[in-house]
């Protein structure tokens, strides 16, 4: 509970940023903050998988894309040709389909965003189970390569399948109405409300994960990270714990994908690319692997900078460099004690102390 109280200052920061942006007429910053929040949702999910359970995944952009693409596809492709299908009729009569008109006045019948979101998340979870059972038996290099392979397959699929728009992706994804008049959309009027929706979802996810890592499961996961054999011997159901964490992080990625797609009004194949997966891993690494707060902070800051275009055409290079530098000099993240100690040594403070000891 004490840990959860740390949420309050974060909440204060979130509100402060909105107030400052609104009063200084720089609301456009909120757009990037909203997008960063969704990316960070994926990143904290990946953080639990990598940092706490110790399982690397180079395929999380794949789960993000599964969520985003399925939701986008279902809410944009018309079901009129399948009107006579029993399933379509059943969904229509239970109010899960939305009728509308295209730009050219044709009849349009699409799946409602709520159902599409549910389908997307369930699909991601099911795929994560089927991929996770065999993949999580692997370790180290093999796990990295296998998840990378999974990511590339998803990328190839969205590039090659006509339903997913091939190289163009899917655009004109409708808004996602939530409750009480709130809706996830990219329209200018909804900028402030969407900022709070995104951060609300992110904080909800954070609270969930903070509770998880403080629980029996969380201790079991840390045991797996330390030594899988030892954890097994202590009665931790390692295979099941790893799989559950994998599925949980995949669901986080899919949720992020669904909401960001509705917010942006579209999704393209680059979201499924290998570089995206690597970027997420880089951010988790910078945050300090087993540090949810670090992952959250770095996720928001680095994504925000990247989305603002600060890194220019060196965007991917920056993340590659971050990855190498962090892993070489501060494998526990830049917020870790050992790294701070090293820095102090570097700048002389620690050195004097050492001389004194000698």
């Amino acid at each position: 509970m004490k840990k959860l109280l740390l949420i309050l200052p974060l909440l204060a920061c979130v509100i402060a940023i909105q107030v400052v942006c609104s009063s200084t007429d720089t609301l456009y910053y909120l757009t990037q903050m909203t997008m960063s929040a969704y990316y960070s949702l994926l990143i904290i999910g990946l953080c639990v998988l990598m940092g706490y359970a110790g399982q690397i995944s180079l395929g999380h952009a794949g789960f993000f894309a599964i969520g985003g693409y399925i939701s986008a596809g279902l809410t944009t492709h018309s079901l009129i040709p399948f009107k006579d299908n029993a399933l379509v009729q059943f969904l229509d009569s239970s109010g899960l389909l939305l009728a509308g008109q295209t730009l050219y006045g044709e009849e349009l019948l699409v799946v409602s965003p709520g159902l599409a979101c549910a389908v997307a998340i369930i699909a991601a979870a099911v795929i994560a189970v089927f991929i996770g059972i065999p993949v999580l038996k692997l370790k180290g290099h093999y796990l990295a390569m296998a998840t990378l392979g999974f990511g590339i397959i998803i990328y190839r699929v969205v590039l090659a399948v006509e339903y997913f728009g091939e190289a163009d992706g899917i655009s004109e994804v409708p808004a996602f109405p939530l409750f009480a008049g709130l809706s996830v959309s990219g329209s200018f009027g909804d900028r402030v409300s969407n900022y709070y929706i995104a951060w609300g979802i992110l904080l909800l996810g954070l609270i969930l994960l903070l509770n998880l890592i403080d629980s029996r499961v969380g201790r079991g996961l840390r045991g797996i990270h330390g030594s899988e054999e030892a954890a097994d011997a202590m009665g931790v159901h390692t295979a099941r714990f790893k799989l559950q964490t994998f599925v949980l992080s995949a669901v986080f990625a899919a949720v992020a994908g669904v909401f960001l797609t509705h917010y942006n009004g579209g999704i393209g194949p680059s979201e499924a690319g290998v570089m995206k997966s690597v970027r997420y891993v880089a951010i988790v690494a910078v945050g300090g692997m087993a540090n949810l707060w670090g992952a959250l902070l770095m996720g928001v800051v680095l994504n925000f900078l990247s989305l603002r275009g600060v890194f220019g055409s060196y965007d991917d290079a920056v993340f590659g460099l971050i990855l190498i530098v962090i892993m070489l000099f501060a494998p526990n993240g830049i917020l870790s004690i050992s790294f701070r100690h090293r820095l102090m040594q570097l700048f002389g403070k620690g050195k004097q102390k050492r001389d004194g000891e000698a």
């Binding site: 110790g54 993949v135 038996k137 990295a144 296998a146 999974f150 290998v274 290079a317 590659g320 190498i324």
Partner: protein, 310 residues
């Protein structure tokens, strides 16, 4: 590209014997390239236990540097210099990023080599741009072809196969007969014991990066006229090379050759049943399947693999 092999959906049942040979030769060409990349993986894996995710980038560097140097010098010289420069890059990478780490964890090394791979690609895209380039054909041009068993192939195919075979044989001789080669093998089988025997294992690791960079670069030059070179060709090759290395049993050069040819032939024949867009997915699917059911590889022994960390 192999136009005949990649033209359209031609089902196996309709295949004539000429077409069969055509596919087979295409498969062998690609397969020998995969085998060389896989052997590059193996050399580094044997001496360090690292899978170098930047292996594909060596191939890319080899091709790209040779294309640039070609403006200033004749082709053979450009290739030789490109190989040497890539070797220096390989040595530089090992010395800067890996040599001084004390007992790093596997996860750390995986992430570092992935970082190196991204950084290499970014350097390449900023130096050479996104355009697709290629070396000229070593003999003749795009339309020169020779006839083998009724199939028509480019003479470049022979260059690729011959160079790959030669590299494989030279590497075998190097490891078997020279003292440096024997020291590297000693380092591979037991690093601690090798150190105790007075072998400088750190230098052996650097040497393994140099060797595998050189092999990758040469393969990159040989394949460039057929498959073209681009800054982002590395990832695909690395995945396929890794598939082959696993398929043949990690660490085994002979296995890598057999598995490389197998994957190349499977891929070549798969164009007749699977759309071209999914061709890369075939190698990855094979990789996933082999990792799940036989991680020691087709030719590896179960006992030996029990000692490795899968």
């Amino acid at each position: 590209m192999f136009d005949v092999g990649r033209s359209s959906f031609i089902f196996l049942t309709k295949m004539t014997s000429e077409l069969f040979v055509q596919y087979l030769l295409a498969g062998i060409t690609y397969g020998s390239i995969y085998a060389i990349v896989a052997i590059g993986f193996n050399i580094i894996y044997n001496t360090t236990g690292i899978i170098n995710f930047a292996q594909g980038e060596f191939v890319m560097f080899g091709g790209m540097i040779a294309i640039t140097l070609l403006q200033f010098m004749p082709l053979p010289l450009a290739i030789i210099l490109a190989v040497i420069l890539t070797m220096i890059i390989g040595a530089g990478i090992e010395i800067c990023f890996i040599r001084w780490l004390k007992a790093p964890s596997v996860l750390r090394l995986v992430i570092i080599t992935i970082g190196i791979s991204i950084l290499s690609r970014e350097v390449a895209v900023h130096v050479w741009g996104e355009s697709i380039r290629s070396l000229p054909y070593f003999v003749g041009n795009e339309i020169t072809s020779i006839s083998i068993l009724g199939a028509r192939i480019s003479p470049q195919v022979l260059w690729v196969v011959a160079a790959s075979g030669l590299m494989f044989i030279c590497l075998g001789i190097f490891f078997k007969t020279t003292s440096v080669g024997r020291e590297m093998r000693a380092c591979a089988s037991n690093r601690k014991a090798a150190t105790l025997c007075g072998i400088n294992t750190e230098n052996m690791v650097t040497l393994s990066f140099v060797l595998s960079a050189g092999m990758g670069a040469l393969a990159g030059c040989m394949m460039s006229p057929i498959t073209y070179s681009q800054y982002d060709m590395g990832t695909g090759l690395a995945i396929k090379g890794f598939t082959v290395a696993i398929l043949g049993g990690l660490g085994s050069s002979g296995g890598a050759v057999a598995a490389g040819l197998l994957l190349g032939v499977i891929e070549a024949f798969s164009v007749s049943v699977v759309p071209l867009a999914f061709q890369d997915a075939i190698a990855i699917a094979i990789l996933l399947i082999i990792l799940f059911i036989r991680p020691q590889g087709l030719f590896g022994s179960k006992e030996a693999s029990a000692l490795k960390e899968f």
